[in-house]
């Protein structure tokens, strides 16, 4: 009976909540972890009110340093996506639909501008850029 349940649940979690860090990538490990967590929040896999494993558990399961995981969590905290309290699990507070403040929108714009400018300068058409935008947004529904 238990084995049967394991098989059933196996299909619905597959590849959904995966974290996959590549030490040979240019991007630092902590940054990769933070990016993947942010993407899970964007996709709605991690919802408002969900918790993340503790820093120690995450570090042990991944086989990386505790300080690396801690750095990622702090970055997410700075971005206002999770809440860290001592002796409690990290709580997801991002992901809900709400009015962003003018300054926050500006922040996103400032971050996006150089990337788009670079793509444009390298010859990407405006149409292609819009398509790209839509394609990425579709992943997050």
């Amino acid at each position: 009976m238990t084995d049967f349940c394991l098989v059933i649940s196996d299909t619905d979690w597959r590849d959904k909540m995966n974290i996959h860090l590549d030490p040979s990538s240019e991007l630092q490990l902590y940054k990769q972890l933070a990016n993947q967590l942010i993407e899970l929040i964007a996709k709605g896999e991690l919802k408002n009110g969900d918790t993340l494993p503790s820093v120690r558990t995450m570090a042990a399961d991944l086989g990386i340093n505790v300080s690396t995981v801690s750095k990622s969590y702090h970055e997410l905290e700075e971005k206002g996506l999770i809440e860290l309290k001592p002796k409690a699990k990290a709580l997801i507070i991002g992901g809900q639909k709400k009015e962003l403040k003018e300054t926050e929108v500006e922040k996103v714009e400032n971050a996006l501008k150089p990337i788009m400018a670079e793509a444009f300068a390298r010859g990407l058409e405006k149409d292609q850029m819009t398509n790209l935008f839509h394609r990425i947004l579709k992943q997050w529904k």
Partner: protein, 359 residues
């Protein structure tokens, strides 16, 4: 004598099959990068080990059966059986070491590390699916033992001046102990030591790392979860059974002053059946959930942890905050020697024995 022989067969079969109980990514305690899991040499090493240990166990068993036909004394036979058991374990340990070294050499010679890409993987939902037993389960028997110790002291005056502490196979008393403030609670104290270390270990079981593989992630998750769940069930079963056995023994001999109750022997047998049968069940459950690695399509592998292991047996990792870790060779858990609690566990187990010797 049949009892000793069945123990011998049990241990022999387990020792023979041990290399096949481990996860496929660890062979004789060496981490195997996932693309090399199907390496022929590894399968050969495992087979050779099983053939040598198996045939040795069989030879020893036949020797014992032949001895049974002669008019050998029971004491001599039991002693000899234990010596043979010891030799068999010594030999399988030596073989383990030699294959451990051989595989490490092979890994280096063929430069496996350079041909694979190490990645760090996990699944955020894995901890929600974990069904390892909670520490509450392991706290309950401790309360029973503390109550028993209190009850013993409340009835101290009524306890006989000497009481039985050892029985032979026929159920006759062959060991007596004089009454002192310590000797009357030695049995509950030993029990308490075992219970407290199980209790500490139950925290370690929960926080022990869950290592997923990069290319067979679902399979490795199922295997890890099964090992944690059934492993903790097995420990709890042995713990509860031992509590029942020792509490009944203590209560009957010390409080009821009955040194040869007819239920001692059946109780002991049922304890053995739960301990050995439970282990078989546990291993059978695990072998059903072993990863297969049938379709390997990339050169990716989850990171190995060889540098934290000595001979694939002793685990010392300062970066791992957990007390326990899944064994690399065989099944079950072993302590992280970099964690100070591991020494407390060992101390708590051995303290009553030291006390017992000094009394």
């Amino acid at each position: 004598m049949l009892f000793i022989i069945s123990i011998f067969i049990f241990v022999g079969v387990l020792e023979t099959l041990t290399p096949f109980f481990s996860r496929k990514t660890t062979v004789f305690g060496v981490s195997i990068p996932e693309p090399y899991v199907q390496h022929q040499q590894l399968q050969l090493f495992k087979k050779h080990y099983s053939m040598v240990v198996g045939s040795l166990a069989l030879t020893f068993l036949l020797g014992q059966l032949l001895l049974l036909l002669t008019s050998i004394q029971e004491e001599k036979f039991v002693l000899l059986s234990f010596i043979l058991l010891f030799i068999m374990q010594l030999l399988s340990a030596t073989l383990h070491m030699s294959y451990h070294i051989k595989i490490k050499k092979l890994k280096k010679q063929e430069n496996w590390e350079a041909h694979v890409k190490t990645v760090y993987v996990t699944d955020l939902s894995i901890r929600d699916r974990d069904e390892v037993l909670s520490p509450t389960f392991f706290a309950l028997p401790i309360i029973v033992t503390l109550a028993l110790i209190t009850f013993t002291y409340m009835n101290y005056n009524a306890i006989p001046d000497v009481f039985a502490t050892h029985w032979n196979a026929a159920g006759e008393v062959d060991g007596w102990t004089e009454k002192t403030w310590i000797s009357v609670i030695v049995m509950p104290l030993i029990l308490l030591g075992i219970q407290i270390s199980s209790f500490i270990m139950s925290f370690g079981m929960k926080s022990a790392k869950i290592q997923l593989s990069a290319q067979a992630k679902e399979a490795s998750a199922i295997r890890e979860l099964a090992q944690r769940k059934y492993g903790s069930w097995y420990l709890a079963a042995v713990n509860y059974n031992m509590t029942i056995l020792l509490v009944v023994l203590h209560y009957t001999t010390v409080i009821l002053k009955n040194q040869t109750a007819p239920y001692f022997f059946p109780l002991f047998i049922s304890f053995m059946i739960v301990s050995l049968g439970g282990l078989i069940l546990f291993i059978w459950k695990l072998s059903k959930s072993n990863e297969r690695f049938d379709d390997l399509h990339t050169n990716e592998t989850a990171s190995g942890d060889d540098r934290y292991w000595k001979w694939g047996i002793v685990y010392i990792n300062k970066n791992d905050p957990s007390l326990l870790v899944q064994k690399k060779y065989g099944v079950g858990w072993t302590v992280n020697m970099a964690n100070k609690w591991s020494y407390i566990i060992l101390l708590v187990i051995f303290l009553p024995i030291l006390l017992f010797i000094s009394v």
